[in-house]
Symmetry: C2
Subunit: 306 residues, 2 copies
């Protein structure tokens, strides 16, 4: 199997992944999922049936009528996580506040794929929709412990986005990028110094939020993500021409650069939910495959692997 | 009181701090400590009497004869922490291994003040010297939990040094530094990209080690340090000419840039030791004052505040 075959297959998996919540439960067990067992077919069905509990933004009629769009299912909740992020990065130091807010201001948040995935996973593993009070912004400080499960899962969504944005800020300095998300990059507006420090600040804030969860297993899982991100970036920087054509190298690099964050935040959501180790494994596997497929599609589109 | 007076006073405090283990217990309660109550006179005495338990490198005769040099007390243990650091930063990615090892190779470790302080504090709070097996290098992976108290305290020493070196790597990129510790800086040898990523890698490794402690309070304490380091750097970068002459600004910036790491690692050592909250406060206060005094002396020497 060549890298081209794999990326094409991955495109199909990715389409399947991103449309899973739009399928009916009858449609879920056919074609693509049947051909991709490691994705965890059981989890997909659970993802579909539990992520959209009655009364929570979408109705069953929407699901059955295939009118559900995955991002819209938890959009309201992702919005409050974004609002909390904007609030959270405010500090008493104006220069840092401006830099840290750069990526979180309204209309600049990007796709917010990672918090969306985390919150869809939270709903998939929950017997009921989150009560209305959890759809208000949680304004407790990052270092303050939140005992409520859904709030803790929202913190994982927030931490995943903080780590992701921090890595983008550092990547832009490393690549000397001129734009990001269609506007001038932070390193271009405020200089490399501020961009490096803003990235460090977001990592620090993620670390404080993570510590406040007081759950050693999730701290370990999410701590590994940053190491993977760095390893992936170095693998990409130092790849030989032979490695660039090697599938194992591509998959290892892509897991580190993209899929680890999705896999480990999905697993963290499951760990916090207190589900069985087997379901935790499925959650990790789901995030891993989604991440690999997502990046493979980006690589196809950019022509990097075609 | 002017900034010059304070830094001169701080020099005396610093001298006192660094020589405390060289004093006899009779000398400890006089002059300097009597004038600087917040340092915690009780802790100083404890530091002196417990840090050098019989048979542990120094003898009581050495202490009484004022022949003890603080760094030598725990040098053997700091050496094994350094050895573990060199081993810990080894990964399967050669470019990263070279970069991460740059600061930890023999003869390049610098003063190793932070691990020394952490291990002196460990001994100060311990009823006995660490058994010989804890003076061998601990080769367990960073993510593996260590149940033994002294090993956990050695991990704090290691994490403190990882965070410190990561901040130096990023600082050198930010300042476009040409040298560090008398040799060409990493950013100059391997470029800014590698230096930024190596810093991130060390932060990630610190985060994994911290998570493996499975102690929520120490995770919170050490997580805050990175945020303080970033805040301090930004405070320095953006200080107005008025702020440069303002004592409160100097102290706040110096706490963030230097003292927070010492204060919070000292407190973490105390938390792991299971001592009372009052002793934890004293440990934090000791680290804070030592850090403020240490930086004030550096500022005096460099002429930054004179």
């Amino acid at each position: 199997m060549t890298l081209r075959n794999v990326t094409q297959a991955a495109c199909q998996v990715s389409l399947f992944c991103t449309r899973v919540a739009a399928s009916s439960s009858a449609g879920c067990s056919t074609s693509s999922s049947a051909n991709f067992e490691p994705l965890g077919r059981g989890l997909h069905r659970m993802f579909l049936t539990a992520a959209v509990p009655q009364g929570y933004i979408q109705t069953w009629a929407d699901v059955r009528g295939r009118r559900v769009e995955p991002f819209s299912i938890v959009q309201q909740e992702v919005d409050i996580v974004s609002e909390r992020l904007r609030h959270s990065v405010s500090t008493g130091i104006p220069a840092l506040k401006t830099a840290a807010e750069y990526f979180f201001r309204h209309g600049m948040e990007g796709k917010r794929l990672r918090p969306t995935l985390a919150l869809l996973m939270s709903s998939a593993l929950s017997p009921s929709a989150p009560p209305p009070e959890y759809l208000q912004v949680d304004l407790r400080p990052a270092a303050e412990h939140a005992p409520e499960l859904r709030r803790r899962q929202q913190r994982i969504a927030e931490i995943a986005e903080l780590i992701h944005v921090a890595s983008l800020l550092h990547d832009d300095v490393i690549d000397d990028a001129e734009t990001r998300r269609g506007v001038v990059s932070l390193n271009n507006v405020m200089g490399n110094k501020t961009a490096i420090l803003a990235g460090d600040f977001l990592l620090a804030r993620a670390s404080v939020s993570l510590a406040a969860l007081r759950n050693p297993e999730t701290v370990v899982l999410m701590s590994q993500v940053l190491e993977h991100l760095v390893s992936g970036e170095i693998m990409q920087m130092t790849a030989t021409s032979e490695q660039l054509l090697d599938l194992d190298h591509y998959m290892a690099k892509t897991y580190c650069k993209t899929a680890s964050l999705m896999a480990n935040s999905s697993r963290s959501i499951a760990v916090l939910a207190g589900v069985t180790p087997a379901v935790c494994d499925m959650a990790w596997s789901y995030g891993r495959h989604l991440g690999l497929a997502f990046q493979a599609r980006l690589s196809c589109r950019s022509g990097a692997v075609l």
